[in-house]
Amino acid sequence: MNKPFRKVIALLLIFAVSITFSGCWDEHELDTLFIVTGIAIDNSQTPDQIDVTVQIGKPKSKSSSSESDSSGGQSSSVIIIKTTEATALEGLKTTDRDSSRTLLFQHNQVVLFSSEFAAKGVRNRFDLFLRDNDMRMEVLLIVTAGRADQFLTANLSQEDISGIFIARVMQDLKAVSPYLQIRLLDFASRLQEKTSSPLAPIAVLNEVDGKQNILIEGTAVFKNDRMIGKLDVEQSRGYLFTMGKVKHASLTAQSQYGRAVFNIEKLDTKRNVTLRPDGGVKVTLSVVTSLGIGELRGFSAMNPKDLMTELKSMAQQQITNQISDTFAAARSLDADIYGFGTSVYQKYPKAWESMEGDWDVLFKDIQLDIKVNVRIPQTGKVIKSLEMDVNSRAN
């Protein structure tokens, strides 16, 4: 064989090899994959080990589901694989080995940490989720009340796959406030900020009439990487008011005249951090909100003008109270959940160098000024409620 031919053959081979070898190595047919929809991590019985539970959604073809329905057998729509290993990756590798197909992690919806596990510190268990190529940073992070694996095995009435159920619930909550939806990336970046406390929503599993349901109730507060406490539902709302960007939420206020439920159409908060002469920090929150009246009870014998003034002051009071309640809770937990430290650093980078060390003390000492500006442009479809109408006529 002469030389030019050799060259041509070599080129062809190089071409063929570069095409076939570079492309096909990560090819996975869909029927060789298990689509992971949730990962739960719990403390194990044996110390220094963790239980890794993987939830795999089973694709249901329409014909097969109708067959199973007709036969009466109720086949589960998820596969649960549980392992106990020292690290999460080892656990997942063992799962991969035990399962008949390769695990596909890119569609993982949630990572669940049980609150006991979270209390022991998550930093050293976290690496895999940030490092691995297949793990998405947009995965939702949830802390569970009780063991996390039971959330994956839960038999829900609303969705077949609990991982997808949690993801949908969180998607709904995101419409209320972006701060409600904590993704792995948000959590990790909060961990990076030394003074800020990461947060994560808490999921609760309850059972009514044999039907299980998952609720998102409250927020877990982390200090460094350990869960140290939680905010209840009202406090969580106060946290949202502090952070701003709230939409489509509701606000209930009570006064001597009656009870009012508002729809928050928009709530924005501006944060202004200043240094006090005595070395402390002063934070001014200016909340601007526009509310709609959702429902009124009481307020009889009030003319509309007085009513509006009253409603405004009620809403103002309520928002202020909630914000300061939450702040009190954060102060008692000694956790800067708002990232005030970061705000100070951004505004006074020089002064921050000396403050960073004793931010814990400074945080407790923060003077919080809250200014709330309420507008009520919407009264709904009626101007007066029926109750008010009757009373005004009697007068």
Binding site: G23, E27, H28, E29, I35, L104, Q106, H107, R136
Partner: protein, 542 residues
């Protein structure tokens, strides 16, 4: 080692071939016709008979005419190409009634010229001196008149043969617009174009191509608008052809096109006179070939594949939207099978979770890898498509039933292919029909992209797309960049969107030369007031 063996074997074969040296071309001695027309009629007729052999449709009609049947002559014609009634009225009757006066010559070339001038009732009579020219005139339908004693002949035009009437074109249908289409007759076709453009600037140049077929070809262009360079290039390329036959414009296209190995064609064709006229008005050259209802237009731009005649007859907004739709359809028809394979085999992460579960459910239990599954469906579609075209119309029904029922339904319910693949291929197929002129190219590209998508995933698809763009950018059609109309230079008035007609005040810059003005003003039409003078007065007042 194996390759080495193959190469040794190939070398052996080529050596063997060289040694035996195929037999030389068999040449048969064919009768040579005389160059000149002889003075004696008999000699001429014998030569003609010899030339035509025993062809039964070659007719010789002898007759005598003049006082006392003094002169003898003969008509030579091909039966079926001439109109007998015209022949009788224009040639035979006037000749037999012809009475020479004393001045008229009695023999030789002057006699035949006198006959042509005074006796024959025909507008198209030529005096021909050379014998081959006379016979070739016969072949294209003229009738040769020979008179004893004259070393010249007459070529009388009395053409008349069966032809199809002008009907609606099959390949390009419109809802709004002229419904006439070209037919197989050259003269009718040029007349159809001439009737659209009643300008003395419209030039028609006739050529003959094909040693055996001697096909008449007509170049049509607007003098002063079409580029000289393009006209000369077309003429040069056609004149350099050394072929024995041209049966359709496709023959010509393949001989004169710029990029014979490209999946894209660089010469346009149309079946509609209005499209051809529009192209000529933009400065293109139309090549009308006898015997086919398709007319070539050159130079061609890539954008022409997405333009239809109706774009210009409907209002610009809707026309623009449909044109964008065609672009999207082309992208879909080329890329969607490849994309489907790439996504399901490589990039499951970018499929939305719910959709992934649906696709995974369909993949469950199908026996073949997704590439093979998709390839089988693409292949099956091509089979159906080809079958639908070639089948006689009554049988075509069966194709669609078999295609729809067996392929669409049974294959899915039997679990051979997944429903998402069927949907993908259906979308691919339907999208392909939006750009009919690109259908051939799209079929080739589709299989290429499918392979690239299966081998390299998204990376392969992007490489394929880039290659396609580079290739399109590198093509030229008769000196005009093929991808013109996409670059931000000229001609953007008629690319992704079709601008209003009043906006297109100039002809495409890269095609038209010289007289590039379509419309004097670059302004929208006047508001519809009844009295134009009053309008002007109002304007001046302000």
């Amino acid at each position: 080692m194996f390759l080495d063996f193959i190469f040794r074997k190939l070398q052996f074969i080529s050596k063997q071939r060289a040694a035996t040296e195929f037999s030389k071309e068999i040449s048969v001695e064919l009768p040579q016709s005389p160059e000149e027309i002889s003075t004696t009629l008999e000699e001429n007729l014998n030569a003609a008979k010899k030339q035509f052999g025993n062809s039964s449709d070659f007719k010789i009609h002898r007759f005598r005419f003049g006082p006392d049947d003094r002169f003898s002559g003969a008509l030579l014609y091909i039966d079926g190409l001439t109109d007998n009634a015209t022949l009788t009225d224009a040639v035979l009757r006037p000749l037999s009634n012809w009475v020479p006066d004393e001045k008229s010559p009695s023999a030789g070339k002057p006699l035949i010229e006198t006959l042509a001038r005074t006796a024959l009732y025909s507008g198209d009579v030529k005096t021909v001196m050379s014998f081959p020219e006379l016979l070739s005139g016969c072949l294209s339908g003229d009738t040769a008149v020979l008179v004893d004693g004259c070393p010249a002949g007459l070529s009388v035009c009395a053409k008349g043969w069966e032809k199809r009437s002008v009907t609606e074109p099959q390949s390009e249908t419109v809802v709004r617009g002229p419904r006439e289409g070209f037919i197989e007759n050259l003269r009718t076709n040029t007349a159809l174009i001439r009737r659209k453009i009643k300008s003395d600037r419209l030039r028609t140049e006739s050529l003959k191509v094909g040693e055996k077929t001697r096909t008449d070809i007509c170049l049509m262009y607007l003098e002063g608008v079409a580029s000289e360079k393009v006209i000369n290039t077309v003429k040069y390329r056609i004149s350099r052809l050394n072929v024995d036959s041209v049966l359709e414009t496709g023959y010509l296209e393949q001989y004169i096109e710029d990029a014979p190995f490209s999946p894209f064609s660089t010469i346009g064709y149309t079946e509609k006179p209005d499209v051809a006229a529009a192209h000529i008005l933009e400065g293109r050259v139309a090549v009308v070939v006898d015997g086919t209802p398709f007319v070539l237009t050159a130079p061609m731009l890539f954008i022409e594949n997405f333009q239809t005649a109706e774009d210009y007859y409907t209002r610009p907004l809707y026309a623009s939207i449909t044109r964008i739709l065609r672009f999207i359809a082309f992208i879909i028809t080329v890329f969607s099978p490849g994309l489907y394979v790439a996504l399901t085999a490589f990039h499951q992460q970018i499929i939305p979770t719910t959709l992934l579960f649906t696709i995974a459910a369909a993949r469950e239990g199908t026996p073949f890898p997704v590439f093979l599954e998709t390839f089988i469906m693409v292949f099956a579609f091509e089979i159906l498509y080809e079958g639908g075209i070639r089948m006689p119309r009554p049988v075509g029904q069966a194709i669609s039933i078999v295609g729809a029922l067996i392929m669409g339904n049974a294959a899915v319910s039997a679990g051979l292919v997944g429903a998402p693949v069927v949907i993908t291929i259906a979308i691919t197929a339907v999208s392909g029909f939006l750009v009919p002129t690109l259908n051939n190219s799209a079929s080739l590209l589709r299989i290429m992209m499918l392979t690239l998508g299966a081998l390299l995933g998204w990376y392969g698809l992007s490489m394929g797309f880039l290659w396609m763009l580079f290739h399109l950018g590198s093509l030229n059609s008769f000196g005009v960049p093929y991808f013109d109309g996409f670059a931000l230079t000229t001609n953007l008035q008629d690319s992704f969107v079709r601008m209003p007609l009043w906006f297109m005040a100039r002809r495409p810059m890269d095609i038209a030369h010289g007289d590039t003005t379509r419309r004097k003003f670059f302004i929208p039409p006047l508001r519809p007031y009844s009295d134009p003078d009053k309008d002007d007065a109002e304007d001046t007042d302000q």
